[in-house]
Symmetry: C2
Subunit: 394 residues, 2 copies
Amino acid sequence: MISKEMYELGAHSSVIREIFEYAKKRAAVVGRENIFDFSLGNPNIPAPPVVDETIKKLIDTMPSCTLHGYTSAVGDDSVREAIAAFLNETHKTSFRKENFYMTAGAAASLTITLHALAEKDDEVILIAPFFPEYRVFSEGAGMKARVVLSDEKTLLPDCDAIEKAINEHTKAIIVNSPNNPSGVVLGEEEVKKLCAVLEKKQKEFGKPIFLISDEPYRELVYGSATVPYITKYYKNTIVCYSFSKCLSLPGDRIGYILVPDEVEGSREIFTAVCGAGRRLGYVCAPSMYQFVVRECLGKTADLSAYEKNRDLLVSTVERLGFSCAKPDGAFYLFMKSPEEDAGAFCERAKKYELLFVPSDSFGFPGYVRIAYCVSAEMIERSIPAFEKLAKEYF
Amino acid sequence: MISKEMYELGAHSSVIREIFEYAKKRAAVVGRENIFDFSLGNPNIPAPPVVDETIKKLIDTMPSCTLHGYTSAVGDDSVREAIAAFLNETHKTSFRKENFYMTAGAAASLTITLHALAEKDDEVILIAPFFPEYRVFSEGAGMKARVVLSDEKTLLPDCDAIEKAINEHTKAIIVNSPNNPSGVVLGEEEVKKLCAVLEKKQKEFGKPIFLISDEPYRELVYGSATVPYITKYYKNTIVCYSFSKCLSLPGDRIGYILVPDEVEGSREIFTAVCGAGRRLGYVCAPSMYQFVVRECLGKTADLSAYEKNRDLLVSTVERLGFSCAKPDGAFYLFMKSPEEDAGAFCERAKKYELLFVPSDSFGFPGYVRIAYCVSAEMIERSIPAFEKLAKEYF
């Protein structure tokens, strides 16, 4: 009587959501302060003051019918111009407003892009570990998701395996750096290596392979890590961006798709992006927030708290005998499970009210994701629990 | 190399959009003040002050991470509770928060609902004239759109024709009252008549036929017209609502889907709605605007300007010899074309800088849609043009 597929998607919400619900119930029993919930990737740092100041300023200065009215489907011209100028200044690129399609955040950017590209029998390569919704979005667009495991030691893309996985059906590969769930950042060397493989396979199959760069965590990098701007390394790159994490406004749903001129069939793809946005019911990206991000380009929330959290967590878990992927970015620690079954490890952690996400849902078994977009104070309080958990293994 | 279907959807944007572009170009030639653009359904009345006041208040009082953070996928509990309470108070219904799924506006409500319901070979009945995107959304969900023309005289649904059109594949019918593009409102008698047909056909085929009530114009009714709350007349009603028009914030994208308990398979449908929202990349409805509408339930923009516009336009065109559908609601006048080909009539109107939308794009030839969400002053200035146009025919 209804769509079985949609029912299943609704009924089996993500593992992360299940842990979230468990945390709520458990908090009711033992008290919120006694639960150490590291499961959710929900920024805990306030939006920078400039966001709220800008909203108030726009309300006071812009005509209501412009501020709250429809923009064109691709987004407001002044917004797209400002983003192009900002990126050109920052990355020495040469984008124009015509390359940008404003969206309701990264998930919208990805679904729209995948729908725009998808033809019958197409495949998209996902590099595990990956954000679980990539599979939902790819399959929703009618593409088969082909999973390639990252290098077991470095958690970096295994370029040999990617090369082998690419076939005549490969339409695209999704790259996510800084990575959710691993926190790993692709340096210039890795980007070059990956792009060389893609170039080679493009030639071999005589057709473009699109690199979809999902970049909501671009600004969340720590220490000396930097995130290369991938369009400069590989022509057929389409960028899916969101302001959710850098400006701490994930609920407000604002981002963009960037289809540079140098992408093969750039204008046709852009047109298909417009068609996909239309078909999926997006109409236009939230208008007021388009104007807000125009005024906040280059600004970020105070991300230093994440770095402090990372340092505290990494030093704690390493001191206790755990090991983890090099956590250069995002707000996730990807810690190796001390027993083979990460699910079993997470169950054991629950005894101490520690909530992690087992990595199986990210397509990469044997790890747990520890989200550190939480208060430093909660991390401090959780250290004895980590210590007890460690004692069970080491 | 890309999705042909999405490319076509992007390349052949709606006729309305084409006229919009024509208006921009023409304005550059003869001046904006000399163009009488009646083509766009973009509210020209400012959002009521309470909207902007609420935004400022929320910024000053709510924690940033709640105001701008993710809500759960179905929407914030307090928001859904408030909407249920408001509707129950207004319409003597008995909804609970669990019946509501918050969305990014009416288009999202419709695409998500259609995806949730669609099974192989399903059909959805569209009553012409209809909002052209209904076809795009239905086909996007994999449903065949079966068009049934309204009664030629009254522009009300032709219930006999609807009865004949329903077959074993019919999953749903979309009802839009007040109607875009006709402005026609379904009174209680018409609602009862339509529902009786649906009841009869449900029995005949032994399966539910869902009435999807698309209600963005619910509050925009004039004179003595009222809009019956359809869930009270037909159990299998799913409401797709948007705050775009009543609060004049169409760009901010906020609305909901209401699946009442009495709908057959209500919880399963609600779960499928969650699945469809997830697959289409919606994540959650814009958070801040969820809280804004919670505070603004029952408030509207000052809609009296629309009524004045309607009265002025109707009296003008009728005085000149044109005839139109009974314009009880929305902000559209559906005027009979004085020549058979509405497209040709629109071309002739362009000579006088009058821009209308030919009704063919709404699946109902022989009319033009005149959107009166414009300034009264523009209507005043346009009267001589209407007079010249009328002289060509009468």
